[in-house]
C-alpha cells in the first residue's frame, strides 16, 4: 500500500530574555550550578510568580510573525507531575487559553515549491531544571539538581498535522528557526537547547481523509536528527501496517547513535496533568495598542525578504532562497550590493565562495566574516576593471579569508595584476609559438581547439596574470598572419 506520512511538530524555543519568566534571575547559559536561582525559581514555600513582560512581548512578536490571532486575554495553568528537576512539582504553562492561536508558516521546500504549515497554538511556559547524575544514570549513587534553567522562558509552538514528509519537517524547522532568529526572540542554538522539537507522526493510505494512529517522537536534538528519526519512524510504521498490524499510540525516544526509535515505558509518560488555572497569576490582558505597536515594529521576515530580493535585485528564486536563509547573510549581500551594484555577480560570489567557507545560517559567523562586504566589493571591482582575472580573484579571496586583508593589498604585494601590455604579451606569444610547433600545426589543419590550448599555454607562461581577452585577440592576429 502507498502510505502518506502525516507529521505535526511541537517546538520549544527558549526566549532571549535577560531574566527568567517569573523571577528576576539571569538566563545566561553555562553558569556554575544553582548560581542563577532565587527563592522563586527554587519553588521555596511562600514564593509567587510574577510574569516577565519581555517574555510576553517576544511571544507576541513570534505570534504576529506567524500570523496568529493574539488572544486578548490568556491565562496560565499549572501542569502537574512529579520530577525532581521541577521545583514545584508543577510547571506553570498555558492550557485552555494560550497566548495565540491559528497561524501559518510558508515553507520553501528543498526540491522547489512551497507548503503552508498551519500553527495551531503558541504559548508560554517555564523551563525545568537539570538533573546531573554522578557517573551514569544506571550506576549513580546520587543525582544532583541544577535549577539554573528552571524558570527560563519557553515558547511552545504546535503545528497542525500539515507536514507530509520528514524532509518537509526539517524544512519547516529551518524556516521556523529563521523567523525566530530574525525576530530576535530566540538564538536558535540547538546544541545549547534553545530550540527543541518533538514530533507526532502517523501514516494513512494515500488519499484518505482520516488520520492514522499517531506516535510521538522525543529526544531529537538537531534538524538532521528530526529528519532521520522521522524517516526511520515512517519506515517502521509502514512495515507494521504492511504486515497487517496496527500502530500503537505511544511515545518513542530517538536514539541518534543507533539510529532507531524505541518505545518509552508507559510509566514514563502516562500522566494525568491535572491542569487548573494558575491562581497566583491574574489573567493576562494584552492592551491592543501595545500589540499594534509590536506589530509595527516587526522586522522584514525571511519570506518577504526573499520576494523582495527577486523583485528588487532581479535575482533568480534559487539565489534569493539561499541568500535569505539568515538575516546576517541577507544583510551581507545587500551591504555588498550597495558598494558594488551588480546583484547577480555579488550573489554568485557569495554562493560559490563565501558559503564554501562559512555556514549561511550561522548569524555570528557571517557577521564576523573576515571578508567584509566592503572588501568583497573591492575585490569585485578589481575583477571588473580588469586589474585581476576571475581566476586570480578566487585565490585572492582565499587569502582574504585567511588574513582579513584588503584585496588591493594582496594583489599589489603578490604582483597579481593582469598583464595588459600588448608589447609585453606579444613577446611571450612569440616565445610560446616558437616552443610549441605542434599546436600550430594542428591549427593549420583546421583544429580550432588548438587555439584554445595556445591561449592556455600563454596564460601559464604569465603565471595566470595575463588578460585572457587580450591574449586571445593577439594570438588570433598572429595565427591569422602565419
Amino acid at each position: 500500500m502507498i502510505h502518506e506520512v502525516v507529521i505535526g511538530l511541537e517546538v520549544h524555543a527558549q526566549l532571549t530574555t535577560r531574566s527568567k519568566l517569573f523571577c528576576g534571575c539571569p538566563t545566561t547559559f553555562g553558569a556554575a550550578p544553582n548560581t542563577q536561582t532565587c527563592p522563586v525559581c527554587q519553588g521555596m514555600p511562600g514564593t509567587l510568580p510574577v510574569i516577565n513582560r519581555r517574555a510576553v512581548e517576544h511571544g507576541v512578536r513570534a505570534a504576529l510573525a506567524l500570523g496568529c490571532r493574539i488572544n486578548a486575554a490568556c491565562r496560565f495553568a499549572r501542569k502537574h507531575y512529579y520530577y525532581p528537576d521541577m521545583p514545584k512539582n508543577y510547571q506553570i504553562s498555558q492550557y485552555e487559553e494560550p497566548l495565540a492561536e491559528d497561524g501559518a508558516l510558508e515553507v520553501d521546500l528543498p526540491g522547489g515549491g512551497t507548503t503552508r504549515v498551519g500553527i495551531q497554538r503558541l504559548h508560554l511556559e517555564e523551563d525545568v531544571g537539570k538533573l546531573v547524575h554522578e557517573g551514569s544514570l544506571e550506576t549513580a549513587q546520587a543525582s544532583l539538581v541544577d535549577f539554573n534553567r528552571a524558570g527560563v522562558p519557553l515558547m511552545e509552538t504546535v503545528s497542525r498535522p500539515d507536514i507530509r514528509s520528514p524532509e518537509e519537517a526539517a524544512a519547516f524547522l529551518r524556516a521556523f528557526r529563521a523567523v525566530l532568529v530574525d525576530l530576535g526572540v530566540c538564538d536558535g542554538n540547538m546544541e545549547e537547547g534553545s530550540l527543541r522539537c518533538d514530533a507526532n507522526i502517523s501514516l494513512r493510505p494515500r488519499g484518505a481523509a482520516a488520520l492514522g494512529t499517531k506516535v510521538e517522537i522525543k529526544n531529537m536534538n538537531s534538524f538532521r536528527n528530526v529528519q532521520r528519526a522521522l524517516e526511520h519512524e515512517a519506515e517502521r510504521q509502514a512495515r507494521v501496517l504492511d504486515a497487517g498490524q496496527r500502530v500503537v499510540q505511544e511515545t518513542r525516544l530517538w536514539d541518534a547513535e543507533r539510529g532507531v526509535t524505541r518505545a518509552m515505558r508507559s510509566k514514563e509518560y502516562a500522566h494525568d496533568y491535572r491542569y487548573f488555572p494558575e491562581p497566583d497569576l491574574v489573567p493576562l490582558r494584552l492592551d491592543p495598542a501595545w500589540v499594534e505597536e509590536i506589530r509595527r515594529g516587526l522586522p522584514e521576515l525571511p519570506r518577504a525578504r526573499r520576494e523582495r530580493f527577486i523583485a528588487e535585485h532581479g535575482l533568480p528564486p534559487y539565489d534569493a532562497t539561499v541568500l535569505t536563509q539568515s538575516r546576517a547573510l541577507a544583510e551581507y549581500f545587500e551591504a555588498t550590493v550597495r558598494e558594488f551594484p551588480n546583484p547577480k555577480a555579488v550573489s554568485n560570489w557569495i554562493m560559490s565562495e563565501l558559503l564554501r567557507a562559512l555556514p549561511g545560517d550561522d548569524e555570528r559567523a557571517i557577521a564576523a566574516s573576515p571578508v567584509t562586504p566592503a572588501r568583497l566589493a573591492g575585490l569585485l571591482r578589481l575583477v571588473e576593471d580588469g586589474t585581476i582575472s576571475g581566476k586570480i580573484a578566487k585565490d585572492v579571496f582565499e587569502r582574504m579569508l585567511r588574513s582579513g586583508e584588503d584585496a588591493r593589498a594582496i594583489v599589489d604585494r603578490e604582483g597579481l595584476t593582469q598583464v595588459a601590455d600588448a608589447a609585453e604579451l606579444a613577446a611571450v606569444i612569440e616565445r610560446v609559438l616558437a616552443e610549441n610547433p605542434k599546436p600550430i600545426e594542428d591549427f593549420r589543419k583546421g583544429k580550432a581547439a588548438a587555439a584554445k590550448a595556445l591561449v592556455g599555454l600563454v596564460m601559464k607562461a604569465t603565471g595566470g596574470k595575463a588578460n585572457p581577452g587580450l591574449v586571445n585577440r593577439l594570438l588570433q592576429e598572429k595565427l591569422a598572419r602565419m
Binding site: 491535572r274 491562581p279 497566583d280
Partner: protein
C-alpha cells in the same frame, strides 16, 4: 507594673512610648516574662524569638530616645503565625515536613512590619498547613483557649488568637482561607480581620489555597486592627494578585459611625444548629447597631448552604497542587531508606504530613483528576460564581452584612473528631472567603459558660473602612471588650 504593660492596646503602647511612660524594651521584657510564665499552659508559640525581640526592642528604645520613632507600630510586640516566612527563623507551617525549614527571606507583611519597627516575639502555632479549625492539627502540640484551657482556641490561626487574647502578644498576624482568622478570633474573643482578597500581599505566606488565602490581623480593639491593616495593606510587585489601589487611612475613618448605614442580616445564618447563646448575642448586637442609627433589614444569601461543599473542593484542589513541592528533594524533611526517587518522595510525604493534610491532598487530587475534573472542580468554580453573585445582589441593597462568626462557641479539645463536624464550623466564614470579601469578627457577648461570642461584619470588596467603622462604633457602644480571660 510589668503585668499592666501587657494589658495595653497597641495605641496605648504607642502613646506611652511617646510620653516616655515606658519603653519598647520594658514592654518586650514584660511580654517575654509572661510568655515564660504562661506559655506552658497555653501553647500559643512554636518558636519564641526572645533574643531577636530584645534586640529589636532596644533599637526601638534608641529611636524613641532620639525622638525619632518609625511610627505607631514602633516597638510594638507582635506574634506571627508560623505560616509566614521569616528570614533566618524556622517557619514550619505546623508540619513535620517543614520542621527544619528556615526561609532565606521575609514575607512581604513581615518586612513591612519590620520596617515599621514592630518587635516580633515569635512564631505561633497553627493547624498543619492552615488546615483545621481548632489548632489540634498542629504536628507539634495543641494550643489552648485562654478563656478555658480545656477548650480549643479555634483555628487554623489558633496560636496568634490565643497569644493576643492571653496577652502573650499585643497584636498578631494570622491567615484566613475559609475563616482561619475570624473563627479563632471569635473563640478567643479578639478582633480578627480578614481583608479583601488582594488587599494584602501573599508573598511569603506559605500557600494553602492560593485563590482564598489572605493575611489577617488579631488585635484587642478595632482601632488597633485599623492601624495594623494600614501597615500591611497595599500592592506588592512580588504578588500579582495584590491589587494596586491606594491604602486609605483606616484609623482616620473609624469615627464615621453607623448612622444611616444599611445593614443586612442574612436569614440563612440563623438557621437550625445555631447555638442559642450565639443567636441571642448576635440578635442583641443587631439591635445595638440599630440603636446607633443603622437601618437593619433581613436579607437572603441563598447559596450559603453550598459554601462548605464548594470550599472543600476548591481549597483541597489548590492545596494538592501547592503542597506538591514538599518531596524531600530541596528543603525540609527527607525520610530515610528510600531506594529510589518514588520511594524517597512517598516516604517523605507519608512521614511528613499529618492525617488532615493527607486527607485534603487526596480530596484535591481526586477533584482535579481526569474524568472528575469537570464534575468537581469545574462545578465548584461555577457555584463559587453564584456565591459571589449572592453577595453582589445583597450589596446592591445594603452597605454591610452582619451575622454570627461561628455557629457555636469554643469546643472542647478532642470534641470534634469527625472531620465533617469540624468543617461545618466554617459554615458562616466560608461564603465571604469564596467571594473574596473583607470581614471582621468582634466580641459581642459571652455564652452562659463564659466563652466569647463573635459578631461578623462583612463588607463590599475593599470597603474595609465601612466594616471597621461599624465594628468600632459597636465596640464603643458596648463593654464586652473590658472582660479579660481568667488565665490573666
Amino acid at each position: 507594673m510589668a503585668a499592666e504593660l501587657t494589658r495595653l492596646t497597641v495605641h496605648e503602647l504607642a502613646a506611652a512610648y511617646r510620653r516616655g511612660d515606658t519603653t519598647p524594651g520594658a514592654v518586650a521584657d514584660a511580654y517575654l516574662a509572661r510568655i515564660a510564665a504562661l506559655e506552658g499552659r497555653v501553647g500559643a508559640y512554636l518558636t519564641v524569638t526572645a533574643e531577636a525581640a530584645r534586640a529589636a526592642a532596644r533599637a526601638a528604645d534608641d529611636r524613641f530616645a532620639r525622638r525619632a520613632p518609625l511610627g505607631p507600630l514602633d516597638g510594638v510586640p507582635i506574634a506571627l503565625k508560623d505560616v509566614l516566612c521569616t528570614a533566618g527563623v524556622p517557619t514550619t507551617c505546623g508540619s513535620r515536613i517543614l520542621e527544619s525549614f528556615v526561609p532565606p527571606y521575609d514575607a512581604t507583611v513581615v518586612s513591612r512590619l519590620r520596617r515599621a519597627g514592630a518587635v516580633f516575639l515569635g512564631k505561633t502555632n497553627m493547624d498543619e498547613f492552615a488546615m483545621g479549625s481548632s489548632t489540634e492539627h498542629s504536628a507539634f502540640k495543641p494550643t489552648r483557649n485562654p478563656w478555658d484551657l480545656e477548650r480549643v482556641p479555634g483555628g487554623s490561626s489558633g496560636g496568634s488568637a490565643a497569644a493576643v487574647a492571653g496577652e502573650l502578644a499585643a497584636a498578631g498576624l494570622g491567615t484566613d482561607t475559609g475563616g482561619s482568622v475570624r473563627q479563632p478570633a471569635a473563640f478567643c474573643g479578639t478582633v480578627g480581620l480578614k481583608p479583601t482578597y488582594g488587599r494584602v500581599s501573599r508573598y511569603g505566606l506559605i500557600a494553602f489555597a492560593s485563590s482564598l488565602d489572605q493575611v489577617g490581623t488579631f488585635t484587642r480593639t478595632v482601632r488597633d486592627c485599623a492601624l495594623l491593616l494600614g501597615a500591611i495593606a497595599g500592592a506588592d510587585p512580588c504578588d500579582s494578585t495584590s491589587v494596586d489601589r491606594p491604602v486609605p487611612d483606616y484609623v482616620a475613618q473609624l469615627e464615621r459611625g453607623v448612622a444611616g448605614l444599611r445593614i443586612g442580616v442574612p436569614r440563612e445564618y440563623f438557621a437550625e444548629g445555631l447555638d442559642p447563646d450565639v443567636r441571642s448575642a448576635v440578635e442583641e448586637a443587631v439591635a445595638t447597631l440599630r440603636g446607633l442609627g443603622a437601618a437593619t433589614r433581613d436579607l437572603s444569601l441563598p447559596t450559603t448552604d453550598h459554601g462548605i461543599a464548594v470550599y472543600y473542593i476548591i481549597a483541597p484542589a489548590e492545596a494538592s497542587s501547592n503542597l506538591a513541592r514538599y518531596d524531600g528533594v530541596k528543603y525540609g524533611l527527607r525520610a530515610p531508606g528510600g531506594r529510589d526517587l518514588v520511594e524517597m518522595e512517598s516516604r517523605t510525604r507519608a512521614a511528613g504530613f499529618g492525617a488532615e493534610v493527607k486527607r485534603r491532598i487526596m480530596l484535591g487530587t481526586y477533584a482535579l483528576s481526569a474524568g472528575y475534573h469537570e464534575a468537581y472542580y469545574g462545578r465548584a468554580q461555577k457555584v463559587r460564581t453564584l456565591v459571589r453573585r449572592d453577595f453582589d445582589r445583597a450589596f446592591a441593597e445594603v452597605d454591610l452584612i452582619v451575622a454570627p462568626t461561628t455557629p457555636g462557641v469554643a469546643f472542647r479539645i478532642g470534641e470534634k473528631e469527625d472531620p465533617l463536624a469540624m468543617y461545618l464550623n466554617d459554615v458562616f466564614t466560608v461564603p465571604s472567603s469564596l467571594a473574596g470579601l473583607p470581614a471582621v469578627s468582634v466580641r459581642c457577648g459571652f455564652s452562659r459558660a463564659g466563652l466569647p461570642i463573635g459578631l461578623q461584619l462583612i463588607g463590599k470588596a475593599f470597603d474595609e473602612p465601612t466594616v471597621l467603622a461599624a465594628a468600632h462604633a459597636y465596640e464603643r457602644a458596648t463593654s464586652w471588650a473590658e472582660r479579660r480571660p481568667a488565665i490573666a
